[in-house]
């Protein structure tokens, strides 16, 4: 496996080098092609070679994954070279004041001049990001593509591991005769689970939202990579790394803090620690995790302080996220509401809106106690809908999880309506923006109406999946064909 990964990285690096260096024009094309084909040959050779059971499975899947990565990197590289890149990087749907590349460049310029990058209210990214780009600013495009690839590979591996566990659990349950007889058609077969990890990677890498976000060089891609690594380490059961990546994600944008609930639930489930408030082991584990989490957070925050030599970044990053001073339109719910509001009520509604993101954690954790990975999906969706500066890159992250729940399709009710609305809204965003800003025949209400519709569709999508998930679990314990007490057909209603 290590070999494959190394090869993958090498291949990746070669592609990136060849596609991105603009001076290689016509001779470059031939060379690139040769490198592609030789890499593919090596891969073929690897896949044909005999490997032991599990590893063979992995190698078999690595070839399509590599192809997928090559394809997605090529698409991004082509878009970087086209005139579209500039247009995309100005779109308010793709970049927010937090993640805009233009602002990062401004911050870098200020840093080079010896001024604090946070003076002047332009730059709002964290100090670690600006120091990262201080070194790799010339390779920014490669960095962003790499971040996308890391996210996809991390999600791929995480989902593969998760599926193995799901399958194992299902096997035990079947052996223990825990499922009712008429539920056999709800049982998941390994055949249909086989391609799910690949589909997850595909949903992330080929999602237009991700591509747009990457081409615009929105730092959202880096945040997604951190969150994906957090999910991977959590599912692999590595407590320390999970805590470290969670603290990194929190450091980047605060909101991933709510992911600690599913992480704790998952890790405890894995270590067979019962979720029981009276048990010492429960509290001991929480204390351990909290210690690791807070410790690494402390280290990161301290490191940022020593890098910059001041606490400027705290109000400028976290104050900016929490108090929402920048009301540039985006796909979120904040801007219009706070632009219209009387200043007097601002603080109150700010609290209401921000608590909204964190509030769902408790009821969802109670309801989905047994299914922490689904809880991660729900939390990611809630964050990307209700956060203060959402971009399409955030949506892409939770949408990558949709193939994992493909077995729920039969219970989904509004998927057609919701996907139509999401599609139409995505097309209408730039059109209504044009009408509002350039043509002057519409106003901000039109744009906000579409934003609202887009978010309602997202909420419907998530609640639909939530309903379907609960319903499948219900059927798995009570049988597929439910009868009422009087013998007629019963239906399940989410209340």
């Amino acid at each position: 496996f290590n070999k494959t990964l190394k090869l993958l990285m090498l291949n990746q690096w070669l592609t990136v080098r060849c596609v991105l260096i603009p001076r290689l024009k016509s001779p470059g094309v031939k060379r690139r092609f040769r490198i592609y084909s030789s890499a593919l040959l090596v891969l073929q050779w690897l896949t044909n070679k005999d490997y032991k059971g599990g590893e063979r499975f992995l190698v078999k899947m690595a070839a399509p994954l590599t192809l997928l990565v090559i394809l997605s990197v090529t698409i991004r590289a082509v878009l970087y070279r086209s005139s579209l890149a500039e247009v995309i990087s100005e779109r308010v749907e793709v970049v927010s004041p937090l993640t805009a590349w233009k602002r990062v460049v401004e911050g870098l310029a200020l840093l080079d001049l010896g001024v604090s990058p946070y003076s002047g209210d332009v730059f709002h990214e964290t100090p670690l990001i600006i120091y990262l780009f201080h070194f790799v600013v010339d390779y920014a495009e490669i960095t962003f593509m790499l971040a996308d690839v890391i996210t996809a590979v991390a999600l791929y591996m995480a989902v593969m591991d998760y599926n193995k566990q799901v399958f194992r659990k299902q096997k035990y349950a079947l052996e223990a005769d825990r499922y009712p007889l008429d539920c056999l058609e709800l049982i998941r077969s390994p055949k249909e689970m086989y391609y799910i990890p690949l589909k997850v990677a595909m949903f992330y890498l080929l999602n237009p939202f991700t591509i747009l976000s990457c081409v615009a060089k929105s730092t959202c891609g880096l945040n997604n990579a951190v969150i994906a690594l957090f999910i991977l380490t959590t599912i692999k059961g590595n407590v320390l790394l999970s805590a470290i990546f969670l603290s990194l994600a929190t450091y980047q944008s605060i909101y991933p803090l709510t992911l600690c609930a599913p992480a704790l639930l998952y890790l405890m489930q894995r270590q067979f620690i019962p979720v029981n408030f009276r048990r010492v082991s429960f509290w001991w584990f929480i204390a351990q995790y909290a210690f690791m989490y807070l410790g690494s957070l402390f280290v990161i925050v301290g490191l940022s302080f020593f890098l910059l030599g001041s606490w400027d970044y705290v109000p400028s990053v976290y104050g900016f996220i929490l108090s929402v001073p920048d009301l540039t339109p985006n796909i979120g719910l904040f801007w219009y509401f706070f632009a219209e509001m009387f200043e007097h009520f601002r603080l109150f509604f700010l609290c209401v809106f921000q608590i909204n993101v964190f509030f769902y954690t408790i009821p969802l954790s109670i309801k989905l106690k047994e299914h922490p990975v689904f809880l991660i999906f729900m939390q990611l969706a809630v964050i990307s809908i209700f956060k203060s500066y959402p971009t399409v890159g955030d949506i892409a992250l939770y949408m990558a999880f949709l193939p994992v729940w493909s077995h729920l399709h039969r219970f989904l009710r509004n998927i057609f309506l919701v996907s139509c609305v999401l599609l139409a809204c995505s097309a209408l965003f730039p059109v209504l923006w044009h009408l509002w800003i350039y043509a002057g025949s519409a106003n901000s209400n039109f744009y906000y109406a579409i934003t609202l519709l887009f978010n309602v569709a997202q909420i419907l999508l998530v609640s639909d999946y939530f309903y379907a998930f609960l319903r499948r679990e219900h059927h798995l314990s009570y049988g597929l064909y439910l009868k009422r007490k009087d013998g007629s057909e019963a239906t399940l209603v989410l209340k």
């Binding site: 058609e185 249909e192 493909s406 399709h409 039969r410 219970f411 989904l412 009710r413 509004n414 057609f416 139509c420 599609l423 139409a424 097309a427 209408l428 059109v431 209504l432 044009h434 009408l435 350039y438 043509a439 002057g440 025949s441 519409a442 106003n443 419907l460 609640s463 309903y467 597929l480 064909y481 057909e489 239906t491 209603v493 989410l494």
Partner: protein, 604 residues
């Protein structure tokens, strides 16, 4: 979650929709068309609605006296133009300076992608001359523009003369609160494009121009004047700008009000307004006017020099003096007074014009409703071939079939038809040189004929697409493809209509019936014929004839065909010169969408 999750009510709704599918479609389509025709019926429209109070009255006193002198200046200009063989830059600079303006010039050059045969130009070089009258009464943050094109030949000299006369007269008045820019632009829209890009520091089309040396405030409104005779019978107001943008209705209403006050006949689309809206002939007259407007707007090209201002959010219109055989003539002094009144009124404008809301979207919603109903119907057919046992539960194999395998077989036609679209967009310009070497045609003809060639070649696609498909198409396959195509069409037309209602309406009128009736099971030859007739290219051909008919200049088929070719070349030129969106829209989106329906018809 009430309606959305109660399965019984949903089932009832869905069965109602499937049963009433075709009647609903027909009724909606008819209602859409009827409503559209109703727009021409005067009581339905608020013609005299003014949203800006400052524009509400025409109470200014016009005193412009110097019509005769303006005509003399115009003649002088004509003589110098002939001598210089183009724009008499030195003379214009001197004359404007003598009238007390700050005068600047701007040079520009542009190589067209292929020669423009209508205007006979290829390598364009020219100079714009403009003079700024600084506002004496207020900080110079806002400006108004009066422009007149310098055209080759004998036309438009009077316009330049009047412009200079007005400049001299305006200079002596003290009430100006906004800078007034007097602009004489060469090579009509190309010069205007260069000047506007220079003024706003943008460069959208890759044109060469020297930067402007002097600027005024932000431009609030602009009028472009075209005048080729000493006396006129009527003034024609041209509103349609780039991409079908229209200026604010207030500007048009203001002009109309001034014309009535001063006693000048004002026409729109070359037609006089009539008061007998309740008679049949009156109604057909207003339908004609409206159809002319719709066709012009749908073409997406600027119909006067004002057309490019609209892109910068500046309200603008062109005013053309028309000299026909009517008895009643108006002299230049009166036109000067009219313009003076307009500018004094615009001078009073306190804030930018408000927005123009339209109720047009309802019409389109009715038309597009048909596609949505179709899509719903298809989805229901796809999701429930066997009757549902319980809400949402279907045969497992069926579900897997629907969700995964069909998606891939739909992707192939989608990708191929879009690649054809890309070919239609890029090939005509790329291959003109090769075509000129190989065939005895001019560059322009080469471009147009290549475009038509690619378009026709696309019709052969379905057969080739099927070869690429791994398995043979199934019933499920075409349904999924049609679902995708119908949704695509709905979103596409909706977005088009938001930007350019007329274009969206014409496309919806022709493409929506296609979306409704196409299946692989209808008679092939007849439906193929109907599909070709309703395709975008044929729609354009009919529009050309219809437009000529509306203008009361009917043409023979031969002339019509030549006109059609020149319309295509002009459309492509408009895109590359001014950034008009119609050509890329048709080539990259509408045509591939139509090809999808063509694919469904030949689904095997």
């Amino acid at each position: 979650m009430g309606l959305l999750s109660d399965p019984n009510r949903r089932r009832a709704l869905i069965s109602l929709l499937t049963r009433l599918n075709s009647p609903i479609c027909v009724v909606c389509y008819m209602a859409g068309v009827a409503w559209f025709m109703g727009l021409a019926f005067e009581p339905f429209t608020l013609r005299t609605y003014m949203s800006e109070n400052a524009m509400g009255s025409t109470m200014v006193e016009e005193r412009f006296p110097a019509g005769e002198r303006a005509l003399t200046t115009g003649r002088e200009f004509s003589a110098h133009k002939k001598k210089a063989g183009g724009m008499p830059v030195d003379w214009l600079v001197k004359t404007m300076q003598a009238r007390g303006l700050e005068v600047f010039t701007q040079r520009f050059s542009r190589k067209l992608p292929f020669p423009d045969e209508n205007k006979e130009r290829y390598m364009v070089k020219g100079t714009n001359v403009y003079g700024i009258l600084r506002a004496p009464r207020a900080p110079r943050t806002e400006a108004l523009v009066l422009s007149a094109p310098c055209t080759p030949g004998d036309s438009n000299n009077q316009a330049v003369g009047l412009l200079l006369g007005l400049a001299q007269y305006f200079r002596n008045q003290i009430y100006w609160a906004k800078d007034i820019i007097f602009l004489v632009n060469e090579h009509d829209l190309i010069g205007m494009q260069a000047w506007l890009e220079g003024y706003h520091h943008t460069n959208t089309t890759g044109m060469d121009w020297s930067p402007l040396q002097g600027r005024g405030g932000s431009i609030q409104a602009a009028l472009s004047l075209e005048l080729s005779s000493d006396v006129i019978t009527s003034m024609d107001l041209v509103l349609e700008g780039l991409n079908g943008q229209l200026p604010n209705l207030d500007l048009a209403n203001l002009f109309y009000a001034f014309c009535q006050k001063i006693g000048v006949l004002c026409t729109i689309q070359g037609k006089l307004q009539r008061n007998d809206w309740d008679s049949v002939s009156g109604y057909s007259h207003s339908v004609q006017t409206m159809m002319l407007m719709v066709m012009k707007q749908a073409s997406g090209r600027p119909w006067g020099d004002h057309g490019l201002f609209l892109r910068y959010h500046i309200e603008a219109a062109s005013i053309k003096g028309i000299n026909s055989f009517r008895q009643y003539k108006t002299d230049v002094t009166t036109i000067g007074r009219l313009l003076e009144g307009m500018y004094r009124k615009l001078n009073n404008l306190l804030e930018p014009f408000g927005l123009l809301l339209t109720d047009y979207m309802l019409i389109l919603t009715l038309l597009l409703h048909l596609t949505v109903v179709q899509a719903l119907d298809l989805w229901v057919q796809l999701a429930t071939p066997p009757p549902r046992t319980e809400d949402g539960i279907t045969d497992k194999e069926q579900v897997r079939h629907t969700y995964y395998f069909r998606v891939l077989s739909v992707l192939t036609p989608l990708v191929i038809s879009h690649l054809t679209g890309v070919a239609l967009y890029t090939l005509p310009i790329q291959f003109q040189e090769m075509a000129v070497e190989q065939f005895p045609v001019s560059e322009t003809e080469a471009v147009v004929l290549t475009a038509i060639g690619v378009y026709t070649a696309g019709l052969a696609l379905p057969h080739n697409t099927h070869r690429l498909l791994s398995g043979e198409g199934t019933e499920q396959g075409w349904r999924v493809l049609k679902l995708v195509a119908v949704l695509y069409l709905a979103v596409l037309l909706g977005c088009t209509a938001l930007i350019n209602f007329s274009l969206g309406f014409i496309l919806a009128l022709t493409l929506v019936p296609v979306a409704a009736f196409v299946t692989p099971h209808v008679p092939k030859v007849l439906s193929a014929f109907i599909l070709v007739i309703l395709s975008p290219a044929c729609t354009l051909l009919f529009s050309v004839f219809f437009f000529q008919e509306l203008q009361e200049l009917p043409v023979s088929f031969q002339e019509g065909w030549l006109l059609y070719l020149s319309v295509i070349s002009q459309g492509i030129l408009d895109h590359f010169l001014y950034g008009s969106l119609v050509y890329p829209l048709i080539a990259l989106l509408v045509y591939p969408c139509w090809l999808l329906f063509w694919n469904i018809l030949f689904w095997k």
